[in-house]
Assembly symmetry: C2
Homo-oligomer: 147 residues x 2
């Protein structure tokens, strides 16, 4: 999700976040949709979850994350870290030593989030093959329609 998250604006989703706004949602499920979307947008992006996972286990240093979240670039690590910090999911601690030392720790809120994520993971686990089958089937029919 997500590339459009700053320009989005379309409807409920994105905007509600800033202060405490939420008024617009009419139906019940729309509020749910909105809320879920907000969470999803928060943990979206290729790296947020990987980082959250590492930090949820224990406090991590910048370079430690750079190594353990394999494939991530310096840039994206910094960006994702900043966003997670901004949302109060990570705490950043700077030790003004030389060389510098910065630690990131998951907040209790983030740990809770991870637990919720586990529910999603279980769903995926249960339906992994069903989804794979559905895809193959769909692609097969789409690729060779007339046969």
């Amino acid at each position: 999700m997500s590339q459009g998250n700053s320009a989005v604006t379309v409807q409920v989703q994105a905007r509600a976040a800033s202060a405490g706004v939420e008024g617009t949602a009419s139906d019940d499920h729309e509020r749910t949709a909105c809320t879920v979307l907000q969470v999803l947008e928060r943990v979206s992006g290729k790296w947020a979850i990987g980082i959250l996972l590492e930090c949820a286990q224990a406090t991590r240093r910048f370079t430690e994350l750079e190594r353990s979240v394999k494939g991530i670039s310096r840039r994206m690590l910094t960006l994702t870290l900043r966003n997670l910090e901004r949302d109060g999911l990570l705490v950043r601690t700077v030790y003004p030593t030389v060389p510098p030392k910065v630690e990131y720790t998951a907040t209790p809120m983030a740990v809770e989030l991870y637990e919720s994520l586990a529910s999603l993971a279980m769903w995926a686990e249960r339906h992994r093959s069903a989804i794979a089958d559905a895809r193959s089937e769909y692609d097969r029919k789409a690729t060779a329609p007339t046969a």
Copy 2:
């Protein structure tokens, strides 16, 4: 998440998916991360959840969705619908009448997914204000650093 969903592949993810492979993952959380990411990518995009929500309630017609999922364009409705169908989350039924009539129904799998999503929604609900506060605080400090 997601714009990078085809190129993703970076690390753990890809290998585990295909059949039942999982051996390589060293730690436990890495496998979880991978799975969660896959789910997230599936329901990512601005519209998937909104559509899923509608269809989970009852079978919907194309135009009904176009109205209820407010803000969505025809193009994105079609695209998202196709993807959800491809993953076996929606069933598309065409009635070759005139005028045409097409119905979309959530599969049991999709309903289950929605239930898992509810867990996320609850998390967001619980921490909504905390996150809002964190953001305000962060932005305040970022905006007026020296003051």
